[in-house]
């Protein structure tokens, strides 16, 4: 097994307090190997999304650490953490991933802009990325003019804008029909073969069956990861 690109230790996340205290995560330890295709599966409300948000540095844990590429995320200030999100992690969410007022191309350019890429280079790179997900001819379409699958592919292209080592997906196919789902999965598998670490939250067992590692989340805890195809 490769070295872990993300290591989570003792992750606890609680919401509210007193009688309304909700323990979303109750101490999760997790290693995500570099270059793996990892699925986080589990029923709704058991902490999958919370775990993903913590792994991506979108939220702060009540306790515990997440180390990505050697950096302890929650020791960073807001600004450094935002920079880390821009460079190390590409996010794709289930709904409304794209900025509706911008074209497919501009959505990708915005991600590049946030990482400090000069405007001239943005266009070339954005075009490459759109070609990579097979949407080169839709560059000037607004999200409303794209199908769900196409929108998610644009979102993936955008997540890849800054060439992050890790892609974090929160049910990216949860909203798609099976044809669109297949399109998206194909893109993801291609990327994974090219060396990207893909972390994928889903409650679909069918999708999970395509992963290298399955992490089951239940009642805020992980069960032992099952390593499948790439078992050590």
């Amino acid at each position: 097994m490769n070295d872990p690109v993300i290591t989570a230790k003792g992750l606890v996340k609680e919401y509210g307090n007193g009688a309304t205290l909700v323990k979303a995560l109750r101490g999760v330890d997790l290693d995500i190997p570099n270059g793996s295709f990892t699925c986080i599966v589990g029923p709704s409300g058991h902490g999958k999304s919370t775990l993903m948000h913590l792994l991506g540095g979108l939220d702060h844990p009540t306790s515990g650490t997440v180390v990505i590429d050697g950096q302890d995320m929650f020791r960073l200030g807001n600004k450094e953490l935002a920079g880390l999100r821009a460079k190390k992690i590409g996010f794709v969410f289930q709904f409304f991933n794209l900025l509706q007022s911008l074209t497919a191309m501009e959505n990708i350019e915005t991600a590049l802009m946030l990482a400090g890429v000069p405007e001239k280079e943005q266009k070339t790179r954005a075009k490459e990325l759109l070609d990579m997900v097979g949407l080169g001819e839709k560059a000037n379409a607004k999200p409303g003019q794209l199908s769900g699958g196409q929108q998610q592919r644009v979102a993936i292209a955008r997540a890849l804008a800054n060439d992050p080592p890790v892609l974090l997906m929160d049910e990216p196919t949860g909203n798609l029909d099976s044809e669109a789902e297949a399109e998206v999965m194909n893109v993801l598998e291609t990327l994974n073969r090219q060396g990207k670490t893909v972390i994928f939250v889903t409650h679909s067992n069918e999708i999970a069956s395509r992963a290298d590692i399955i992490v089951h989340v239940r009642d805020g805890q992980t069960q032992l990861p099952q390593e499948l195809r790439k078992a050590c």
């Binding site: 999304s49 948000h53 991506g56 979108l58 939220d59 807001n78 600004k79 935002a82 920079g83 999100r85 821009a86 460079k87 996010f91 969410f93 709904f95 409304f96 991933n97 794209l98 900025l99 509706q100 007022s101 911008l102 501009e106 350019e109 915005t110 991600a111 590049l112 802009m113 946030l114 990482a115 405007e119 943005q122 955008r158 800054n162």
Partner: protein, 385 residues
């Protein structure tokens, strides 16, 4: 993609809302600019043409008024009149108008009246006199008298009648319209005629001075004192109260404008708050893509700043046009006639200032929504549906 582009794309997304918010600011700024222009013109009007005030300096002989006592103390014989040379010296100063008068007394039917020797044409213009009956002095040295309206009525004198002044029968040429001042009780003669009658050849009693710029009265008082050794009395109190009235009117106009701007500012707050809620998800996505809190804050702040900038430009243009085109109509109204001539007070500095001010107000208005937006946690923003 640049930050500026991103801001403009967000702005133009809801075109209706953009338009209505902009209209709010434009109307606020337009009223502000209009009122400032009107107020400014009022002030410059009063400072430039202080016609309504009459004289603001009076040059008196040292022997008159307060100087009399000095003469008793020192035994010095002080003159009670001003000579022709002194008048000429005073009148040679530029930037002011000086009108000499010979003030004397006489009696009609054993009742005292004041008699005034004047330079007919200059005095008429200076005092804005209108003629009620008969004719005015046909020439500068004309014989005959022009009477104040109250005096004419009191003694039943009409044009063509004769009044006896210092033993001479003088024909009444005309009667002035009522002025509301002591001119109504005065017999006016042309200066040479009066000087001859009262044996004051080439002498006058005082010189009324009106300076072109009211705020430079003191400067001119000193200029006169430098030229001639005479007393100069200025009406500081009058000037002070007129300027304070102008100030009050300006203040009132500005307060009305401030209310309009305040209302527009809350329009921006409202628009930006709505935008914050509406774009919650977008904010989360931007944060996931690596936007910092500071970045989100700036996006929203500049977005409202642009409302202010565009609204300010539009408002300043609208207000400027209103000031230029509407004021001639406003000035036809007796109560607001003071604003005439405001075209001249259209001021590019004020124009630029209004735009800057509008942008600043909009950014202040956008502060709270921008802080709200930047405080959103990414997870909260993404989970919002």
């Amino acid at each position: 993609m640049t930050h500026t582009n991103l801001i403009f794309r967000s702005l133009t997304r809801r075109k209706g809302r953009l338009l209505f918010t902009l209209l709010g600011i434009m109307i606020g700024m337009a009223s502000f600019v209009t009122f400032m222009a009107l107020g400014g013109s009022l002030k410059s009007q009063i400072e430039q043409e202080s016609a309504a005030l009459g004289a603001n300096l009076v040059v008196t002989p040292k022997g008159s008024c307060a100087y009399e006592q000095v003469s008793i103390l020192t035994g010095e014989q002080l003159p009670t009149t001003i000579t022709k040379d002194e008048v000429a010296a005073i009148r040679s100063i530029e930037g002011m108008q000086a009108i000499p008068y010979l003030a004397e007394r006489s009696a009609i039917d054993n009742r005292p009246v004041s008699v005034m020797g004047i330079l007919p044409e200059e005095t008429r213009v200076f005092k804005n006199w209108l003629l009620a009956q008969g004719e005015y002095f046909p020439e500068e040295t004309a014989d005959g008298a022009v009477l104040g309206s109250v005096l004419a009525e009191q003694f039943g004198l009409n044009p063509g009648a004769e009044v006896r002044i210092r033993g001479a029968d003088i024909k009444v040429l005309g009667v002035l319209e009522e002025t509301g001042g002591k001119d109504d009780l005065t017999v006016f003669l042309s200066l040479p005629v009066a000087q001859q009658l009262y044996e004051q050849k080439d002498l006058v009693s005082y010189v009324a001075v009106r300076v072109d710029r009211l705020d430079e009265v003191e400067l001119y008082a000193n200029k006169i004192k430098d030229k001639v050794s005479l007393g100069v009395v200025s009406d500081k109190q009058m000037r002070g109260s007129v300027l304070s009235i102008v100030g009050t009117v300006n203040m009132t106009l500005q307060m009305i404008a401030a209310v309009a701007i305040l209302a527009a500012a809350f329009g921006i707050v409202n628009t930006m708050m709505t935008a914050t809620y509406e774009r919650k998800r977008e904010i989360g996505i931007l944060q996931a893509m690596g936007a910092t809190r500071n970045g989100v804050f700036k996006l929203f702040l500049f977005e409202s700043g642009i409302y202010g900038l565009i609204g300010g430009i539009g408002g300043a243009v609208m207000g400027g046009l209103a000031a230029v085109f509407a004021t001639p109509y406003i000035s036809q109204n007796a109560a607001t006639s003071f604003v005439k001539g405001s075209q001249s007070s259209f001021d590019p500095i004020m124009f630029a200032g209004a735009i800057l001010f509008s942008t600043l107000v909009a950014m202040v208005a956008g502060l709270y929504p921008a802080i709200k937006a930047s405080k959103l946690s990414p997870v909260e923003a993404i989970s919002y549906e």
